[in-house]
């Protein structure tokens, strides 16, 4: 069994220490790890699901722009990062599992290894403070 690159392993170890939701994907968007705060958003536990194909986990969220219009996947920071390997940040809304709208900000960044290779991506979700 081939192990992940250490840059991926270290990102997981960091995510494990954080109190904000963190998602780690491979280079095509398959979800290879999400931390405990992210489990709340997904409504699933990593221990139960293990890795999730992009088709499966990308449908869990229903992103809306700030005018409540559905957002196209290519507008989402993580999708953009996977496409061009640059970091992105955007504020939008997601519809929670209970149907409630939650304003959030998402930051995504590519994991470029010491060898200079693109080996995966990270998305961090920040809950926006309600004004």
């Amino acid at each position: 069994m081939a192990a992940h690159e250490i840059e991926i392993i270290l990102n997981r170890q960091l995510a494990d220490c954080l109190s904000i939701p963190v998602f780690i994907t491979d280079t095509v968007g398959n979800l290879i790890f999400y931390n405990e705060p992210a489990e709340e958003l997904l409504g699933k536990r990593f221990e139960d699901t293990g890795e999730m194909p992009v088709e499966e986990w990308s449908t869990v969220f229903k992103p809306l722009d700030n005018d409540d219009n559905p957002m196209a996947p290519e507008e989402l920071p993580l999708v953009k990062t996977l496409s061009d390997q640059y970091p992105y940040h955007k504020s939008f809304q997601i519809v929670s599992l209970k149907g409630k709208k939650q304003p959030i900000s998402a930051t995504s960044y590519p994991i470029i290894s010491r060898s200079g290779n693109f080996v995966g991506a990270v998305a961090i979700f920040w809950k926006q403070k309600l004004k």
Partner: protein, 275 residues
């Protein structure tokens, strides 16, 4: 192939009656087959290794990283000063500076009187990353591992035999220690099923929390790594300079009370023939 350990001490050479049994020289090992010679790391143990294989015209030095205890002996490796020798130095690539430039920071004044570029042997440097390459009869796999700065471990294969060299490694770095899934274990590919695994076990489990992030393992984490990777036999190395022979043996005895991993303490002068 014959594996010999020339230095097993971590951090700084430690001589004296308290460390006489396991040795005080810093990290160095050799792997020899016929006249082919690999030297693993250039700690102070490399000095004695330098004169041990006079028939080898070509010598390949594989550096895991450039911390001082792994290169301190390079300038005292006599084949470097022999014009008839062909020396190849392999080491981890950095994203900013060349291997030559980084080694030269030590092998240049004021730290050393001779410039690396002026050594009389035929010298060639090679940068490795997550690589597989052949040297003579050996197939070698290198991979970056968790340790501060660019650091690789090496898996050395000849026919069906595997020797894995990971003297500095902290696979348990993180809030919950090592993730016990091979896909998430730094260095797993290097050590999987190795006949001999040489692995960092510098600290006791009590010492480790105060030294987290320094790049080394507790003896219990080293044992867990050996277990996860199914290494057939493991040598614990990079002995802490403050650990006497007696203390090391007490550490091992305590470890063995709760583990059935096949393991012993790396000892300077230890030799094994993997054939």
């Amino acid at each position: 192939m014959k594996v010999k350990l020339w230095g097993v001490r971590g951090s700084i050479p430690t001589t004296g009656p308290d460390t006489e049994k396991y040795g005080g020289n810093t990290t160095c090992a050799s792997v020899a087959y016929d006249d082919h010679l690999l030297v693993l790391d250039g700690g102070t143990g490399i000095r004695r290794c330098g004169g041990a294989y006079p028939a080898s015209k070509r010598i390949d030095i594989l550096l895991t990283h450039l911390h001082l205890d792994h290169i301190q002996g390079l300038g005292f490796f006599s084949p470097l000063f022999d014009p008839s020798k062909e020396i190849h130095i392999w080491g981890p690539a950095s994203s900013s500076q060349s291997l030559f430039s980084r080694i030269s920071r030590y092998l240049s004044p004021p730290l050393f009187p001779v410039l690396l570029r002026d050594v009389p042997c035929k010298l060639e440097l090679h940068e490795v990353s997550n690589s597989v390459f052949d040297i003579g009869p050996f197939r070698i796999q290198s991979s970056y591992i968790i340790h501060p700065g660019p650091t690789v471990g090496y898996r050395i294969m000849r026919e069906n035999f595997v020797f894995t060299f990971i003297p500095d490694h902290e696979p348990a770095l993180g809030s919950h220690g090592m993730i016990q899934n091979p896909k998430w274990v730094s260095g797993y590919d290097l050590a999987e099923g190795a006949d001999i695994l040489l692995h960092d076990a510098q600290y006791t489990s009590e010492e480790y929390p105060m030294r987290r992030g320094w790049g080394h393992s507790s003896i219990d984490d080293a044992g867990l790594f050996a277990s996860i990777t199914s290494a057939k036999h493991t040598l614990f190395t990079h002995h802490d300079p403050s650990h006497s022979d007696t203390f090391l043996e007490e550490m091992l005895a305590a470890f063995k009370l709760s583990s059935d991993v096949s393991v012993e303490l790396a000892m300077e002068g230890f030799e094994i023939d993997l054939t």
